[in-house]
Symmetry: C2
């Protein structure tokens, strides 16, 4: 007997992943160039050349036992954490040191560590719909409860009044994700200030800490030089979860970090608990060679222009056909209204035309779909006639 | 407020880790050569040269997007899983294919995936004392309960009669670890056959599946050509958790796998659930570059002779002084009776002489200590006078 608690997962396996695996099957049948796979946020831009160079240099230059051995601390190499801290300080004027950084097995593990560190079983974490479906699973892993703040389907910006309605005396954290998956929206400074003010008020009112957990894998993917405010500067009780999956195109390598600012409430216990959570949850430490690689490549940048070109081609192409899209300010996702209103039916219809996209239901926001445009530019161009055909069928 | 549920961890942080961190402090104070740090199972033999060569070759030869991108399946690259399966088949005469293998972020994540896959909250998993202390934390992560089978302090071999006494109608799994951490004992074929028979009987009696979870990071560290029986051949309901941490000296890289044999009960659901658990627990997939490395190095071997030399020098040295030790058949740990009977007091006394070792209390077996002899050979030789001085103090 497999655990009964796993069966709902098995039966309702992630639509995103299922779609990704379906893509492989279709590609085999019709040829990869005839399948328009927009299902997964798997970067289409390779890692910068400096990454592979750094790997080779580290192998040549550093001690093999140090490169591949256990870290002295489960939080990662002290020198790597110091490099990350100084990098953040130079960008944001913060004052972090190695003691504020926990290296993690990607942002997914970072979020799990943050939730286990901050939330007791039964406590609540809020997320603004639409949100990454795994947040709910991560909360559940630790007995915490994810509560959705309903989407504002006009602007797709978080609605603070709705948030206030969802906060209870069990609320311990609010997760925000900007640039946003799946909408591409960036939360500007005005919003962040209001969010911070509202939460400070709520903390006083309820007499308890409420943390922001800022999930930031798309921080560097901001178009038109848009500013992405650094949350710890606005709100002390913030934990930042970062990943190099998108910024250095290393999603398979599982490398990221958490920031715990010294100003947060109960910092000493929190950072100790995070270090221990990293161990007891079975991550142990972030993969060591790649820790050293990201430290060497701390100033490298991905080719955001390639994604920008895709963004414009897809947005203009879909708009011309007649689709209603949110214009993405960051990340590499387009959030599109499903013609006919039924997102799952629309995704099924699109699949008949070899287009793979993910229903908004997977982001707690039915009626919309997510198109991941981190693909070859030709895929965008070649898919547009197929998108037009699907649209036709809804007329 | 840090989660209340984390505070017991913070307050009683792992003695092993604490000792490891203490080692760094002492080394800074007295010089590394004057501190005898036997606290952690961090291999002292570097990864075989083939490993670093494979890293460089893969970077040169393979597609960067493939090396560093998400895996098509959360279980890992299909070709890597096939290589692992065929390797096991050639060694053990098994008939695994890629579909039986889930690549994991080391054995620690593998064990968490196995427990989440097989155990519902409230169900029980047995471990034979002394056992690796993290097993209890891994069980707790998923609401499962670890129950200890009392140690046989004469032979330090698992006692099946004691196991039968601990099995209840809530028992879902038995974790075994051979070669064993911390005793160095290898479970021979006779024992495995009896274990399998007992569990088959218990399954019938209780009308429920009871799984063996075989934690095997030390499989290759077997001295004097000792046989380490492959569990799936004796008992269908077996899941094997493997790691290359020790066999290729890659503990920091977090790379291992799980084997789910097709013969196990509910195989289809179990393998699907494990694939999903790998994702929802935040591991997502085993680090990709290192997956490709271990596949290329599947036949590589670590220098077990170095550990064997340490084993003999330490065993003979300690015996001569007067200590009572279990002669290790595998792994790289010596299990030693604490003079005076109080393991924690003995460890504290040893630390005064710059010897860092871990109390048996951390393995649910007070009165003994673990000495990890995966260290430079000189550390063994130079530590013996210090061990003698500590022993003197107990006379």
């Amino acid at each position: 007997m497999t655990a009964k608690s796993m069966m709902p997962y098995v039966e309702g396996n992630s639509a995103i992943r299922a779609m990704f695996e379906e893509g492989a099957r279709l590609a085999e049948k019709y040829g990869r160039e005839n399948v328009y796979d927009f299902s997964l946020g798997n970067p289409s831009v390779p890692a910068p050349a400096e990454v592979n160079q750094a790997i080779k240099d580290i192998i040549e230059e550093e001690d093999s036992l140090l490169i591949h051995g256990y870290n002295q601390s489960n939080s990662g190499y002290a020198d790597v954490r110091e490099t990350v801290a100084q990098h953040l300080n130079s960008l944001h004027g913060t004052r972090f040191g190695a003691q504020n950084i926990v290296m993690t097995v990607g942002a997914a593990s970072g979020l799990n560590v943050a939730i286990k560190t901050l939330l007791d079983p039964g406590e609540e974490i809020l997320a603004f719909a639409p949100y990454f479906v795994e947040y709910g699973n991560y909360a559940k892993n630790h007995g915490a409860v994810l509560k959705a703040v309903p989407a504002d389907v006009v602007t797709f910006r978080p609605n603070l009044r709705e948030m206030e309605n969802v906060i209870t005396e069990k609320t311990r954290a609010v997760i925000i994700n900007s640039p946003n998956n799946p909408t591409g929206v960036i939360y500007g400074e005005d919003f962040i200030k209001k969010l911070a003010e509202t939460l400070k008020q709520k903390q006083l009112e309820l007499g308890r800490d409420i943390y922001i957990i800022a999930d930031e894998p798309y921080r560097e993917l901001a178009y038109d030089d848009a500013e992405v405010p650094y949350l710890t500067k606005y709100y002390d009780n913030t934990v930042v979860a970062y990943s190099w999956s998108k910024s250095l195109s290393l999603p398979g390598e599982r490398i990221g970090y958490l920031v715990f600012p010294s100003e947060m409430s109960d910092f000493g216990n929190a950072i100790d608990a995070a270090n221990i959570a990293n161990r007891v949850l079975g991550y142990v430490n972030a993969p060591t060679l790649i820790q050293r690689v990201v430290a060497r490549c701390i100033d490298c940048k991905t080719d955001i222009d390639a994604y920008d070109r895709n963004r414009k081609a897809l947005y203009n192409g879909l708009n011309e056909i007649g689709y209603t899209c949110v214009y993405p300010e960051g990340a590499f996702y387009m959030w599109v209204k499903a013609p006919g209103g039924d997102d799952k039916a629309f995704c099924a219809k699109a699949k008949e035309h070899n287009i793979l996209i993910v229903p908004g239901s997977s982001f707690a926001c039915p009626g919309y779909v997510r198109i991941a445009y981190c693909v070859a530019h030709e895929t965008i161009v070649n898919s547009l006639p197929a998108f037009a055909k699907v649209y036709e069928e809804y007329k």
